[in-house]
């Protein structure tokens, strides 16, 4: 206990004399940033997941063509899950001699479990947390115009007469399948039976929706899965909306990356600050050793000071981190959903653990050197302790960072990529810098005095310079990574959803109408995608083996074999599609097929396999000529199977296309519907808008995270420069006593620090490009492009920043009297 008191007193005395300021600052930055990001990421992730859940109007949905076993619902009740049901079917509505095929949706009173409905009550929209009351119907505006109705009129759905209560403008779980193509009529589930539309054998889709505790949902999901029949599906946010899933997943990964970056930056700062602390304590340690302190007592004495310091700084960091993320949420309030998930204690605790782990991983290696200080140093000041076995001990830091990265990303591959690429680059480049520094020694005799002293500043302790350059490089790399990945991610999203992304799909265009339809669009100067012929068919065998025997349950392949697929043919490879195996129609023969990559994997289909399809009562076979990768989220028609021209000629086909119609030209739709009554128009505006909102929210959040990471980076870079100044200040003061004037000293410092920053910047570009390439290719699956402008900006930023921070740090050498400087050291 006495020893601990002594450690506390030494800590207090050190902090009073300003020895610990930089180290404490670095630690506070580490914990503040990691807590803020951990909390922010956690809350945002959960908020986004909740919002994504709104797209399904629930956390988990069972879709089924028939009602489900009542014991399933009892199980959900037993697990305290909230429940709602929606039944969807098509029905022809007849009013005022007008006919309309409507998508009817009968919802229970608890619907929607997540999200809300919106109705148009001009001039504003009204938000509802439940659907229509029994006896009323809410309809799409198109229903009113098509059937010549107005609000308050009667509408007949089957045998049931309902009153039109509202114009529905937003439905959270509006899906892009057949039942949602047609204009919506939403009714209460209690009225369903009275419509008498749903009869045995009717094509009806049931959606059983559940929400509640994540653990209970997961238990329910596991319990349910083995009992599903082939026509039933469980959906959750990640697999239900692939376009949203991938955006969320990437955003989550970026958040993870930001955390890693801040930890790395802070780690570097801690290592540098501890190194300075250690070096400044060599003499004191020698005296303590002289006074009888044993080696392990020295370690204990300093170790316990660091633990106490860590606890204090972590507590301050936690509080600051908490406020920082609150401020971030406040800043983003207008963009985020009204209900933001509450901060979780686990995330707070995690910020704290990160602080302590980063401290021990990065501070321990330099600190261990104190153990090796010889007491003889009191007599011979030049005696320096041997450095600790660096590789063995830094592997501790790498290990700890590795575990943290892995915990954040939950992704072993990403962890290995970052660590592997980073370490390999550091090793190679460290050697390279060392060699170049040695070589530049030869330049010295040919340089003027100022340049010679500037360069010598770097060369005389080349080992120290190499580690400083590497440390600055890591910080710059972290900042560059944060910036580049964010920019590319956002560009990628914008590319995915440009402002004029198609917002309508037109299906069932008959071949004899196709040209007119296309002309009509062109005349109106409406941007449209290609027209693709569509034949509905089912995949039955692969190499003569029935598909059901090949695919695993619940896989994408399994889903694809249970329904009809849209089959098309094309001479050219569609835009956004990329061949990953084989080639695009090696010969012009019919009977070839190109399969989408994920489906091919799920169906275990290889090049050269023969696939048999049925269309109506006929069968045909095609050989797999290529495998394609494509993006489902482009809002253009996309296909699992594309055949070579001629393959599907024997079957009747219709055409599909998508186009962008600006908000103010919606009247054109009515003209289209009138002219092509058999054509189905699918409006994806709402889906598109939802997606755009989410992406812009994510973009904002990611921008703020970037600013945060950059701010932490600059602060730490500044602190890090500061930790390297002691010997320079000392030498500068000595030089002044020898008659060096201020301008000379200032210039040598500018040269030395600018060179240091410049080299660190150049290295940072090389490492960044390597890490970005690895990250994009193996982890984020984004296209890598060399960023040439980095070669200009990063070395410039490094030179400017390290130059300025360094010159500012040693300004006392120039401004104060040398004696004063020497006495302060």
């Amino acid at each position: 206990m006495t020893r601990f008191n002594l450690a506390l007193r030494l800590l207090w005395r050190d902090s009073r004399s300003g020895e610990l300021t930089i180290l404490t600052l670095a630690l506070i930055i580490a914990v503040t940033s990691s807590t803020a990001i951990s909390l922010f990421a956690d809350r945002l992730q959960r908020t986004m997941a909740t919002q994504a859940a709104e797209f399904m109007a629930a956390d988990l949905v069972i879709s089924s063509p028939a009602t489900i076993a009542s014991e399933w619902l009892s199980k959900a009740t037993q697990l305290n899950l909230a429940q709602a049901q929606a039944v969807e079917f098509s029905s022809v509505l007849i009013e005022h001699d007008e006919l309309l095929l409507a998508g009817v949706k009968a919802v229970s009173s608890a619907y929607p479990l997540r999200g809300f409905l919106k109705t148009d009550a001009a001039p504003t929209e009204t938000v509802h947390h439940s659907g229509p009351k029994p006896g009323t119907a809410w309809v799409d505006k198109r229903v009113l115009s098509a059937l010549k109705l107005k609000l308050g009129d009667a509408l007949h759905v089957g045998e049931k007469q309902l009153t039109i209560g509202n114009i529905i403008t937003y439905e959270p779980d509006k899906r892009s399948d057949f039942y949602s193509f047609s204009p919506r009529v939403m009714i209460n589930a209690d009225d369903l039976q009275a419509t008498e539309v749903v009869q045995p054998g009717s094509r009806v889709h049931y959606f059983f929706q559940f929400s509640g505790d994540t653990k209970a949902l997961s238990e329910f999901n596991h319990w349910l899965k083995p009992q599903l029949n082939p026509s039933q599906r469980i959906m959750d946010i990640h697999d239900d909306r692939p376009e949203l899933g991938s955006a969320l997943e990437r955003a989550e990964r970026y958040l993870g990356l930001s955390s890693i970056i801040v930890i790395l930056i802070a780690g570097v700062a801690i290592a540098m600050a501890t190194r300075r602390y250690t070096e400044r304590h060599f003499n004191s340690t020698a005296i303590l050793r002289c006074l009888g302190c044993k080696q392990r007592e020295i370690l204990w004495l300093y170790g316990s000071q660091f633990v106490v310091l860590g606890l204090l700084a972590s507590t301050i960091g936690l509080l600051l981190g908490w406020f920082a993320q609150e401020a971030l949420f406040r800043l983003l309030r207008s963009l985020l959903p009204q209900q933001v998930a509450a901060p979780s204690m686990l995330a707070v605790f995690f910020g704290f653990i990160i602080g302590m782990a980063t401290l021990s991983g990065f501070a321990l290696p330099p600190l261990l050197r104190l153990k090796k200080v010889s007491p003889l140093k009191v007599l011979r000041r030049e005696l320096e302790p041997l450095p600790s076995s660096a590789w063995l001990i830094y592997s501790l830091a790498v290990g700890i960072v590795g575990v943290l990265i892995w915990r954040y990303t939950g992704d072993l591959k990403m962890t290995a990529t970052i660590l592997g690429a980073g370490l390999a680059s550091l090793l190679v480049l460290g050697l390279l810098v060392n060699v170049s520094l040695r070589l530049s020694r030869r330049l010295l005799p040919h340089l003027g005095l100022t340049w010679r002293f500037g360069l010598q500043g770097l060369l005389k302790n080349s080992r120290g310079s190499v580690s400083q350059i590497l440390a600055f490089s890591i910080t710059l790399v972290a900042m560059v990574l944060s910036f580049i990945v964010r920019t590319d991610l956002i560009n990628d999203w914008h590319k995915q959803l440009p402002a004029n992304a198609p917002n309508y799909f037109a299906l069932n265009i008959f071949p004899d109408q196709q040209q007119n339809f296309q002309q009509d669009l062109q005349q109106q100067q409406i941007d449209g995608s290609r027209f693709y012929p569509v034949v509905r068919g089912r995949l039955v065998t692969i190499n003569n083996t029935p598909v059901q025997q090949i695919v695993s349950k619940d896989s994408q392949g399994e889903n694809a074999t249970h329904r009809e697929l849209s089959l098309t043919w094309s001479k050219e490879l569609p835009v956004d599609n990329k061949i990953t195996a084989g080639s695009w129609w090696p010969d012009a023969q019919a009977g070839q097929v190109s399969v989408e990559q994920k489906l091919a994997k799920s169906l275990k289909v290889k090049l050269g396999d023969s696939l048999t399809f049925t269309v109506g009562s006929q069968q045909f076979t095609a050989t797999v000529a290529s495998i394609r990768e494509l993006r489902w989220d482009t809002m253009r028609p996309n296909f699992y199977m594309i055949f070579s021209p001629g393959t599907l000629d024997a079957f009747p086909s219709t055409f599909i296309t998508s186009f962008y119609l600006p908000e103010n030209r919606k009247d054109f739709l009515n003209a289209l519907v009138k002219q092509y009554p058999s054509t189905t128009l699918l409006e994806v505006d709402l889906i598109l808008r939802q997606l755009q909102t989410i992406l812009s929210q994510l973009t904002e959040a990611i921008n703020y995270l970037l600013y945060f990471a950059l701010m932490a980076g600059f602060t730490v870079l500044f602190a890090a420069v500061h930790t390297t100044l002691d010997s320079r200040i000392h030498e500068g003061a000595l030089m002044r006593t020898l008659g060096a004037n201020r301008a000379f000293l200032r210039n040598t410092h500018i040269i030395e620090f600018t060179l240091l920053g410049l080299i660190a910047g150049l290295l940072a570009v090389v490492i960044s490009e390597a890490v970005i390439y690895a990250l994009y290719t193996y982890v984020m699956h984004m296209e890598y492009k060399a960023n040439f402008y980095l070669w200009f900006y990063v070395p410039l930023t490094g030179a400017l920043f390290v130059g300025l921070a360094g010159c500012w740090g040693v300004r006392n050498v120039v401004n104060k009297s040398p004696l004063e400087v020497l006495r302060e050291l």
């Binding site: 006495t2 020893r3 002594l6 007193r9 005395r13 050190d14 009073r16 004399s17 020895e19 003499n283 004191s284 020698a286 005296i287 303590l288 050793r289 002289c290 006074l291 009888g292 302190c293 044993k294 080696q295 392990r296 007592e297 010889s374 007491p375 003889l376 009191v378 007599l379 011979r380 000041r381 006495r823 302060e824």
Partner: protein, 245 residues
């Protein structure tokens, strides 16, 4: 007349042998040598040093620069290890101990005064003097340290850090720190080397007064003939060998 408390050696000896020291000297060396390997070959810094220093004796080690004085004092105090030969403190073979064993010996028996003062920069005068007592777990550290600082005339400087003290004042703090544990042996390495002659003379007076009060064995390294003359015995080194004892 006030009775002086037993110093550490007396206490240590009492514990071991009922008050009769087991060895003739409190510090003894036997064939002590130190050499280092340099790029020009082996450099012999000390060769075959045999010494017996009795308890309470005051010894001056003198010699030219580079004659091995500081190396010898480092070996005697257990701050360094010899290439060959033995050093015993209070009958215990230092050369048979590991670093932690030697550290324990230093804490128990030894005090130091250095040419460069070697005060801890972040600590006040009082805290610097308290430090060795705190390390040995003494609960009265503050009172003892304050009393000793008062004894060296620095009661008005207790809360000053070394940067705010003059060289003479710093060395007085160092003296207080050296004597506060009542060590059996005090090693002083050029204690006046960084001071002007008047201040140096004050420090030496103080050193000998404290030495007398505490019955400490004093081993000091110096260039100063006058200072050497105040010691009971002078050992002269030349090229790592004793040429006068």
């Amino acid at each position: 007349m006030q009775t002086q408390p037993l110093n550490n050696v007396d206490r240590a000896c009492s514990r071991q042998t009922g008050g009769i020291p087991t060895v003739p000297g409190i510090v003894t060396t036997e064939n002590l040598s130190k050499s280092v390997v340099t790029s020009d070959g082996i450099l012999h810094i000390l060769s075959s040093i045999d010494l017996i220093i009795k308890s309470g004796e005051s010894i001056a080690i003198v010699g030219e620069s580079g004659s091995g004085k500081s190396t010898l004092i480092g070996l005697l105090a257990g701050l360094d290890t010899p290439t060959s030969g033995n050093v015993s403190l209070n009958g215990k073979l230092l050369t048979a101990m590991d670093e932690d064993g030697r550290a324990a010996m230093r804490n128990e028996l030894v005090g130091f005064v250095f040419q460069a003062f070697q005060l801890l920069p972040g600590l006040t005068a009082l805290e610097n003097v308290m430090l060795p007592l705190e390390l040995s777990g003494d609960k009265n550290a503050k009172a003892s340290a304050a009393a000793l600082l008062d004894r060296v005339g620095l009661s008005h400087r207790l809360s000053h850090t070394p940067q705010k003290l003059s060289g003479g004042e710093q060395q007085r703090v160092a003296l207080a720190r050296a004597f506060v544990t009542k060590p059996a042996i005090l090693f002083a390495d050029e204690p006046t080397g960084n001071l002007d002659s008047k201040t140096g003379a004050h420090i030496i007076d103080l050193l000998f007064e404290l030495n007398l009060e505490n019955k400490t064995t004093l081993i000091l390294v110096t260039h100063d003939q006058a200072l050497a003359a105040r010691c009971q015995r002078t050992i002269r080194l030349d090229s790592g060998r004793i040429v006068e004892s």
